[in-house]
């Protein structure tokens, strides 16, 4: 169960990040100024991808609540850093980004750390 909850946390966080990134870039193309809180709220209301990003953040939060109810905090928080690994893999495979050596090394360190934390 803990791996299922952890997967929900990691996957929903990553998809939320991607949706936020895409949504804010598309919305940001129409303005040269940084969005204030009011504009961010109106953007969320107007754009489905941003609204979905918020919903996914909530899913991630509730899955975290369920995880820490039964698992140690010293496992739940470090292991949730798996989002760094998944984002790096997706950046390389799905988005075909050039992944810098530093980022790849960082993702490898996080993956190794998760293996140790889970033992």
């Amino acid at each position: 169960m803990k791996w299922l909850l952890l997967s929900v946390i990691v996957v929903s966080t990553v998809i939320s990040d991607l949706l936020q990134s895409r949504g804010m870039k598309i919305a940001g193309g129409t303005s040269t100024s940084a969005p204030g809180l009011g504009r961010v709220l109106s953007l969320i209301a107007a754009r489905r991808d941003l609204a979905l990003a918020i919903v996914l953040l909530a899913v991630s939060f509730f899955a975290f609540l369920a995880l820490v109810q039964t698992e140690p905090l010293s496992f739940a928080v470090p292991a949730s850093a798996g989002s760094f690994v998944l984002e790096t893999v997706l950046a390389k495979t799905l988005l075909r980004e050039r992944v810098a050596m530093r980022r790849a090394m960082g993702a490898l360190l996080v993956a190794a750390g998760i293996l140790l934390v889970a033992r």
């Binding site: 946390i9 990691v10 966080t13 990553v14 939320s16 990040d17 991607l18 936020q20 990134s21 895409r22 804010m24 870039k25 953040l57 909530a58 991630s60 939060f61 509730f62 975290f64 609540l65 369920a66 820490v68 109810q69 140690p72 905090l73 010293s74 496992f75 739940a76 928080v77 470090p78 949730s80 850093a81 989002s83 760094f84 984002e87 790096t88 950046a91 988005l95 980004e97 050039r98 992944v99 810098a100 530093r102 980022r103 090394m105 960082g106 993702a107 490898l108 360190l109 996080v110 993956a111 190794a112 750390g113 998760i114 293996l115 140790l116 934390v117 889970a118 033992r119």
Partner: protein, 156 residues
């Protein structure tokens, strides 16, 4: 409001952005960095503390989650998460994300420490090493330069 540092709320695609022209990190900024770094692990601590005292098992029932959020410790954790988000936004207005994220990635080790001290969790040497590796790795990932695609500024 991801409880993961970031990730939970952490690995945001908006990689290090340019700071304002006069972006020298002031003493006030260091104070904000300290607050941001401490708020997240402590909010996670209160969430975990509250959830351990919540007798109902969380499943797919939304009402159980709402009841859990009414627990004083869980509510305190949520308030601290909101404060963390606002403080972090404030910090980002005066300091580079490439400075903020690596520093705040220490939160993974801090959360482990708080779990050990306040929740009396058994933390093995392997788990300590794992948390340290994760903090270092997150700092490396977070300090990657912003532009990762050729020709455009679209990034991710």
């Amino acid at each position: 409001m991801k409880s993961q540092p970031e990730k939970v709320q952490c690995a945001t695609p908006e990689r290090p952005r340019r700071a304002p022209a006069n972006s020298a990190v002031t003493a006030g900024s260091y104070g904000l960095v300290l607050i941001v770094t401490l708020l997240k692990p402590f909010s996670n601590l209160f969430l975990a503390w509250g959830m351990r005292q919540f007798s109902e098992v969380l499943a797919l029932n939304p009402a159980a989650y709402l009841r859990a959020m009414l627990d004083p410790l869980v509510a305190l954790g949520i308030v601290m998460q909101i404060l963390w988000l606002l403080t972090r936004m404030s910090l980002l207005s005066v300091a580079d994300l490439s400075f903020v994220l690596p520093v705040t990635s220490a939160g993974y080790v801090l959360s482990t420490l708080l779990g050990r001290v306040f929740l009396h969790e058994q933390v093995s040497a392997e788990r300590w090493l794992g948390a340290i590796l994760i903090s270092l790795g997150a700092a490396l990932v977070a300090s990657t330069p912003e532009k990762t695609t050729e020709g455009t500024a679209t990034g991710k």
